[in-house]
Symmetry: C2
DNA sequence: CTGAAAGCGCTAACAA
DNA sequence: TTGTTAGCGCTTTCAG
């Protein structure tokens, strides 16, 4: 059935040798099914219009032989790998910091699910990865978390023509394909209003020394708010990637002569740190000190007292980012903008309510009800 | 310099067409540098013994052209992709549960770093991934977290001849290449002894209804210990993947008529849940109730009181697992066993010390000292 | 509607 | 030493 010695030279007497021993190739399947390799490819990928009988027969044979198409060959041929990079910022040698754990974990989890549902898988690639690692993996596109201004990785990826979607609006003129972010400014203003409504007279801020967009926007919003209401800013900064520095900064904030009667902490562990500091200074929460922190952790529902948190909705963000990226990869045109703002959520708990909801409280050790 | 029309037939008048527009191929580099593609390949990969001049010249030209080798082509040719799968258990549609966040995040973080240091990248692949996703990515090997007995994914991977290293000793006769785990039994026994030494008379357990190895081994160890010391087991189980169920189970445990005077919680959030439950019942920690939970979270250093935790050392595990896997991939022979046991660490804090370092404690409500 | 053949971009034998 | 060539396993025009 095959024209043997026409004008082929070397391929005479090895009719079916599979590449690696043990794994069946498409040729093996074709031979076993008595069809051509084209038919096998089409049958398995649902491409051509073959009779259903042929299709199912081929599928059956492939199954029986344990045939697995080679991802590398397909990628080489089609130019699509089905792989999406997930680029995380690094501090020192480690990808992402401890304070970002919950956020990152939630975000990555949602991103993984969303990607999977559309047939893609995620590759974790720290931004500072060795160059050879980046070029060793065929990516269809990349999600970048919080890219810095002029990020060399993003620039390079875009130059290669790969779609890049960022979590966090890109600083500077970074040419990303799309981005997803919260409205940090609005979130902070809202939250400060909430605290003021609960009776706060002097609101303090626990912020970071880092220059990432989140920290910068949030801090700026705080300063604007202070200016608007005529309050002197009261804040302490610390390197957010140092897990111990937070506790020290929290302590410093409450030790100030102009001690605030309410505090917002920008980072996840700030809640427990501030609570601990408050105990050290004999401050009751929420009676003497109102507390809010930005966190995705559920532990704050069970602390004493439960602490009000601002959620950035990392799951929404993870999902949105991946959808946008895959749309770009697959060439889906978007009518709307390629910028997406995800609303935040303020989860109000006892720590930010001067009048707690419970009615029956046996008089605590503080006799003063006002 | 190149012999043009010797005995080539079809390749006469297209000297340099690159595959995709915009990206330079190895041929373009060869042409631009005036050498053959082999020389380019060797120069860039540090393979052959070329003069340093040629090598640097080629590198320079490649750089200038913005040449990036095609990962797909290299993978197809060499059979190595530089990609390692990180398989996580799934609950519902989501990869890993909330209670495993801190553990997973730490473990994945360490694994990512370790892989990167050896030139590999990690691909997140939930165990329940669609089959087509698995076969769409060329993996050199896989890390499996807590594989279940007869795990079909592992079985399939091993059948394909891929090395598989598991975090958690494999249940049943799962043919993994290597595994890394803690000695959960010893850890629990140690911890119970610690509580008993602190004065616990009746130790309770907060455990899971799931059948994974960790839960099973830990629970069994607890039962053994109870038998040994002649204590009636006091425990509550709940589905660990449900974040709310833990609080309810903690409450149930402390509401029992045979209320324990010490509790060990197997899962991360148990500490805060138990603390909250203790407050509801007016139990002081550690005076009326000793508390320990298994957690990687630092929040327990700042709770009131700080809670003693058992750390499973996920970073050690993540690193070890990846090292073992890459060794297997690269054919490094191990003299030692391919089973590695990572020691746990009990971080003792106030919650498990009946005599806290502070000297002034008003007499607890239980007058009976014997 | 099916099959043969041409590569995708690279590496590793071999030939010069 | 450097260059030529044959594929890795698959998809995909293009003939039949």
């Amino acid at each position: 059935m095959t024209a043997a010695g026409k004008h082929q030279v070397s391929r005479t007497e090895t009719p079916r040798r599979s590449g690696r021993p043990g794994r069946a190739g498409i040729r093996d399947v074709a031979a076993a099914a008595g069809v051509s390799i084209t038919t096998v490819s089409d049958a398995l990928n649902g491409k051509g219009r073959l009779p259903d009988a042929t299709r199912s027969h081929v599928r059956e044979v492939a199954e029986r032989l344990g045939y697995r198409p080679s991802a590398a060959a397909r990628t080489l041929r089609t130019g699509k790998s089905g792989l999406i990079g997930l680029t995380v910022t690094t501090y020192g040698d480690e990808p992402f910091t401890f304070t970002e754990f919950a956020y990152f974990a939630e975000m990555a989890r949602a991103a993984t699910s969303a990607a999977l549902a559309r047939g893609y898988a995620l590759v974790i690639l720290p931004a500072t990865s060795r160059h050879d690692v980046w070029s060793n993996v065929a990516l269809d596109g990349t999600v970048v978390i919080d890219p810095s201004d002029q990020d060399p990785v993003v620039t390079e990826l875009v130059r290669q023509g790969l779609p890049v979607v960022s979590d966090g609006r890109p600083a500077g003129a970074l040419p990303v394909t799309a981005w997803v972010d919260n409205d940090h400014r609005a979130a902070v203003l809202d939250l400060l209003d909430h605290l003021a409504a609960a009776g706060a007279r002097r609101i303090g801020l626990l912020t970071g020394t880092t220059t990432d967009t989140y920290t910068r926007l949030s801090t700026t919003a705080y300063l604007h708010w202070c200016e608007r209401v005529g309050q002197d800013p009261v804040y302490e900064s610390y390197p957010a990637h140092d897990p111990c520095a937070g506790a020290v900064a929290a302590d410093r904030l409450l030790a100030r002569p102009d001690r605030p009667d309410a505090v917002y902490g920008l980072f996840d562990p700030n809640g427990t740190d501030l609570l601990a500091a408050a105990r050290r200074y004999g401050l009751r929460v929420p009676e003497d000190l109102l507390l809010v922190c930005c966190s995705e952790s559920t532990v704050y529902a069970a602390t004493e007292p439960p602490i009000t948190t601002l959620s950035l909705k990392p799951r929404h963000i993870g999902t949105a980012v991946v959808q946008l990226l895959i749309d770009a990869i697959e060439g889906v045109e978007h009518d709307g903008p390629v910028e997406q703002v995800i609303p935040t959520e303020l989860i109000v708990r006892t720590s930010s309510q001067r009048r707690p909801p419970r009615t029956t409280v046996s008089a605590p050790r503080s006799p003063s009800r006002d």
